[in-house]
């Protein structure tokens, strides 16, 4: 199935209309182009190649299942889409077909105050959910950079990473169970054991994570039961400046290992990131040149515990070269981290002129001890890329803690790309650079991605290298569950599952 189905057979369209109603099947050009849009996309100049043939907006799990059954009957690809905020193009059709938009599954079905869970549709946004939960003193602490615009279904499909995951866990920890439509159209309940509200079971295979992070290649989550916490009494988010990256790196290691139970996450900003911010971010423009690196930490919980932990972290940072940046910058920057997609972006030509640039972000999961080496090699890749073309701009590196022990970090390099000037040649330069970023991550014992996924051109080429025999198991599972290759075909090199059969 390598044909791109940007037009749908009228017979398929008629079957879809019969299944979910005329009003929820859309074939117009604007609706189809809009739903191929993503924040850090495939080459923009080739947008038309990624447009679906038809858009469907089901309102129930049964309707989702009916759509998948129709797709199987006619051999048409199905691509699930929630907020469309992912950074690995999971929701972008590679073969056209049916775009399954989950936004109508936006109901909060149940809030269980005693068991601290809620059951919601896959089209619910976390910010809107937390507005409701806040009235009960509760919160669902899944906090991506796209927090105001991403949806629960996409968080499951991508196995999302959370900014405050070191305190509360990431999406895989916070989603207790979900209703899942398999590529056959069969509906199953996936969780820990059979109970929808359990966080631990030893009954049967643990399949929950298999059906998370598959980027829509193994079906569609339609409804989820989520773990809730008390809304924190208090928050503390100090930012410190350092005169060198090495000092900041040592300090963040000590801060993370300070063993504060309310610790929710820490971030290192490297010198290239500080230079970018000093150029273009109002909080950092006035910072003196002696500021070469930054560290921030966040704590959430009961006021007494946050305060005690905060005292400990403030003392560690001060004693290891950190200069506190003040409440205004610390509190303002931390609040902005819940909403990174709202940031307007521009970059610079070699002559220093301002140009509009899109944000591209490559991430990896890297152990603490390897972060400096990966950082150095990634900037060398970027320097070569910027020498090759001035449509690229190095916006520096962040490293975020993945967990409370500080064993590993989400390391991300932010890259500005002047997309109006992007052509096939420049795109190939970028794809080659992405492949090099991934190779560095693997060489240092890391993973290609901590957060975004790894199914875009460039990085995906190295997924079999990273996963080894596990990739072969992925092919076996894909072929077994989706014999017609109708679920998001072309992603993650999974077409190989079918080549082997032939």
């Amino acid at each position: 199935m390598s044909t791109v189905l940007t037009e749908i057979d009228p017979e398929v369209a008629e079957a879809l209309r019969a299944a979910i109603g005329d009003a929820h099947v859309i074939a117009d050009r604007a609706a189809r182009f809009h739903r191929a849009r993503v924040p850090a996309p495939f080459p923009v100049h080739r947008w038309a190649e990624h447009v679906p043939g038809i858009v469907v907006l089901p309102g129930t799990t049964a309707e989702v299942a009916a759509i998948v059954v129709i797709a199987n009957r006619f051999g048409v690809p199905v691509v699930p889409r929630s907020g469309g905020t992912g950074l690995t193009d999971g929701a972008v059709p590679l073969r056209g077909g049916i775009l399954l938009d989950l936004k109508r599954l936006d109901e909060i079905h149940e809030i269980d105050l005693e068991n601290r869970t809620c059951r919601v549709g896959a089209g619910v946004n976390m910010l809107k959910l937390n507005e409701v939960l806040g009235k009960h003193g509760l919160i669902y602490p899944d906090d991506p950079a796209s927090y105001p615009c991403s949806l629960v279904g996409g968080r499951i499909g991508t196995s999302g990473w959370s900014l405050i995951g070191s305190r509360y866990g990431h999406t895989r920890d916070l989603v207790l169970s979900f209703t899942h439509v398999l590529p056959s159209g069969q509906v199953i309940q996936v969780g820990d054991g059979g109970g929808a509200k359990l966080s631990k079971s030893s009954s049967g295979y643990s399949l929950k994570q298999l059906f998370m992070g598959h980027q829509g290649t193994l079906g569609v989550a339609t409804e989820a039961t989520l773990k809730l916490y008390d809304k924190p009494e208090a928050e503390l988010s100090p930012f410190w400046a350092f005169e060198s990256y090495e000092e900041a790196y040592r300090a963040v290691g000590l801060i993370v290992r300070a063993n504060c139970a309310t610790f929710a996450g820490a971030v290192i900003f490297d010198p290239e990131k500080v230079a970018y911010l000093r150029r273009d971010d109002e909080a950092y423009i006035p910072q003196p040149e002696s500021v070469r690196a930054l560290v921030c930490a966040a704590l959430y919980g009961n006021e007494e515990e946050v305060e005690a932990g905060g005292r400990r972290l403030m003392r560690i940072a001060r004693d290891h070269g950190g200069t506190y940046l003040g409440d205004e910058i610390s509190q303002g920057d931390w609040a902005a981290r819940h909403d990174r997609y709202a940031t307007p972006l521009h970059g610079r030509t070699r002559a220093g002129q301002v140009v509009p640039m899109g944000w591209h972000c490559e991430d990896a999961s890297i152990n603490y001890t390897a972060v400096p080496a990966v950082r150095k090699e990634w900037h060398e890749i970027m320097a070569r890329l910027c020498r090759a073309s001035e449509i690229f701009d190095d916006w520096g590196i962040f490293a975020y803690t993945n967990g409370p022990t500080g064993a590993d970090y989400l390391v991300e390099i932010d890259v500005g790309i002047w997309e109006q000037e992007l052509d096939d040649e420049a795109w190939q330069l970028w794809v080659n650079a992405k492949r090099e970023f991934s190779a560095v991550a693997i060489a240092h014992g890391g993973s290609i991605s901590a957060c975004h996924g790894s199914c875009r051109e460039g990085e995906v080429d190295l997924v079999p290298t990273e996963l080894g025999g596990v990739f072969d198991v992925m092919l076996t599972i894909k072929r077994a569950l989706d014999p017609g290759n109708i679920m998001n075909p072309g992603k993650y090199l999974l077409d190989r599952a079918y080549e082997e059969v032939e």
Binding site: P232, A234, E235, S237, D280, E282, G332
Partner: protein, 90 residues
């Protein structure tokens, strides 16, 4: 109440150069130096009130986000003052 005067609103205060690449016309509001936006971006007339409004809206958005996530935001500056005093007294 103050009167709206078009000429006043479209005449920004004189800029102060705050870095090689940024200027400041209003207190604590930094702007990219316009001389860096001559080749690839066209400039538009921007009334003073709109600059102030956008910055105020950003601040209120950030305050809203704090309220959304927590009941109380603690001051790290006050904690630092406390531990500095404690250390000086010990």
């Amino acid at each position: 109440m103050t009167a709206y005067r078009y000429a006043d609103e479209t005449t920004p205060p004189d800029p102060v150069q705050v870095s090689d690449v940024a200027i400041m016309r209003f207190e604590h509001i930094f702007e990219v130096d316009p001389k860096l936006m001559t080749d690839h971006l066209s400039q538009q007339e921007f009334p003073n009130w709109d600059t102030i409004r956008i910055v105020a809206a950003r601040h209120s958005h950030l305050a809203w986000m704090h309220d959304h996530w927590t009941l109380k935001v603690l001051s790290a500056g006050e904690l630092l003052d406390d531990i500095t005093r404690e250390d000086a007294g010990s």
